[in-house]
């Protein structure tokens, strides 16, 4: 692992110790965030899976009646019946803050008109088409809900991935790096301390020796 190059001073050590404390605190916070995100994500994704399965099954039924309708009337007539008069649905989008991830919330409203949501004359179309349109209308809220859930799941997945990377970076790179930096400064400082002590002892010895020498000369 790449060591950080630092001046072995007490000041640097204090600085590193401060950073280490911050990194530890951030690590703990991010880890909590990751856990909570994961919890929410799993709930959402489970709901997402169930909803998708049911929507897909029901959509298949719609497709079936649609195929029947297409077979029973000409393609042109089918298109005509569905295209006119066109209803524009309005989708309202707001956003919700989920663990600091902005996820969209959809609300779809369809202007009500006519018999059971069918906006075409019944004279030239088959009953199968009615079936298809009615069941598709019934499916709408769930389709929109599915879109919302799936989007939320995707965005949470991204956030979890990001958070996990940050947690790992702190845990396995930043924190060990600070620790080793602090350790190396401490060792260097201790070494200096010992060197100093030895030097003082040596100087004291020399001073004593000189004094003894001087005393002997005086006696002689």
């Amino acid at each position: 692992m790449a060591e950080i190059q630092v001046n072995p001073t007490r000041m640097e050590m204090k600085k590193l110790q401060g950073r280490l404390a911050t990194a530890r605190r951030g690590h703990k916070l991010l880890k909590d965030k990751r856990d909570e995100l994961m919890k929410q994500f799993l709930d959402i994704v489970r709901a997402n899976k169930e909803l998708r399965e049911s929507v897909e099954a029901r959509l298949a039924a719609v497709h079936d009646s649609m195929s029947l309708a297409a077979a029973l009337s000409s393609r042109k007539m089918l298109e005509e019946a569905l295209i006119l008069p066109k209803r524009e649905g309005v989708l309202e989008v707001s956003s919700q803050n989920r663990m600091s991830v902005e996820v969209p919330v959809f609300r779809f409203t369809l202007p009500e008109n006519g018999a059971a949501g069918c906006n075409y004359g019944f004279a030239f179309t088959s009953g199968e088409l009615d079936d298809a349109v009615v069941s598709l209308s019934a499916l709408l809220p769930d389709l929109v809900r599915l879109a919302e859930l799936e989007k939320t799941a995707q965005m949470l997945a991204e956030e979890i991935e990001k958070t996990r990377r940050r947690v790992n970076a702190l845990e396995y790179i930043m924190i060990p790096r600070y620790q080793s930096g602090i350790r190396s400064i401490k060792m260097k400082l201790d070494e200096n301390e010992r060197g100093n002590a030895v030097r003082l002892m040596k100087v004291k010895d020399m001073a004593l020796a000189r004094e003894r020498e001087a005393a002997r000369r005086r006696q002689a």
Partner: protein, 107 residues
């Protein structure tokens, strides 16, 4: 609050029914065309774009662009040929992305 629209992209047979329920329908005949349509509609005020699986499976890159954006939500739906399991596979992928392993679908 701004009003958004819902679009459906797919082959004619699969998506025509959505005309009746107030979605905007864009019929395409190939995956490339679907990708182009997707890019064009994403710039407009479509909040949800449904895309049929038979095209979606060939253009994962074009869809992935919108994965991390709040809008639009690009959602795959089974086309007339029945479900290809692509939508569920997508959920599985996002689980793998988040958790690192598939813990939801293992049997």
């Amino acid at each position: 609050m701004e009003a958004y629209k819902i679009g459906v992209i797919g082959d004619t047979e699969s998506v025509i029914g959505f005309l009746a329920v107030g979605f905007s329908v864009f019929t395409v005949t190939s995956a490339e065309e679907a990708a182009r349509e997707l890019a064009r509609r994403a710039k407009e005020n479509y909040a949800i774009l449904f895309l049929t699986e038979n095209f979606a499976k060939d253009i994962p890159d074009a869809i992935a662009v919108y994965k991390d954006l709040p809008l639009p939500a690009v959602i795959t739906i089974p086309g007339r040929g029945g479900s290809l399991g692509y939508g569920l596979a997508n959920i599985k992928r996002s689980v793998e992305r988040a958790v690192g392993a598939d813990i939801l679908f293992k049997e």
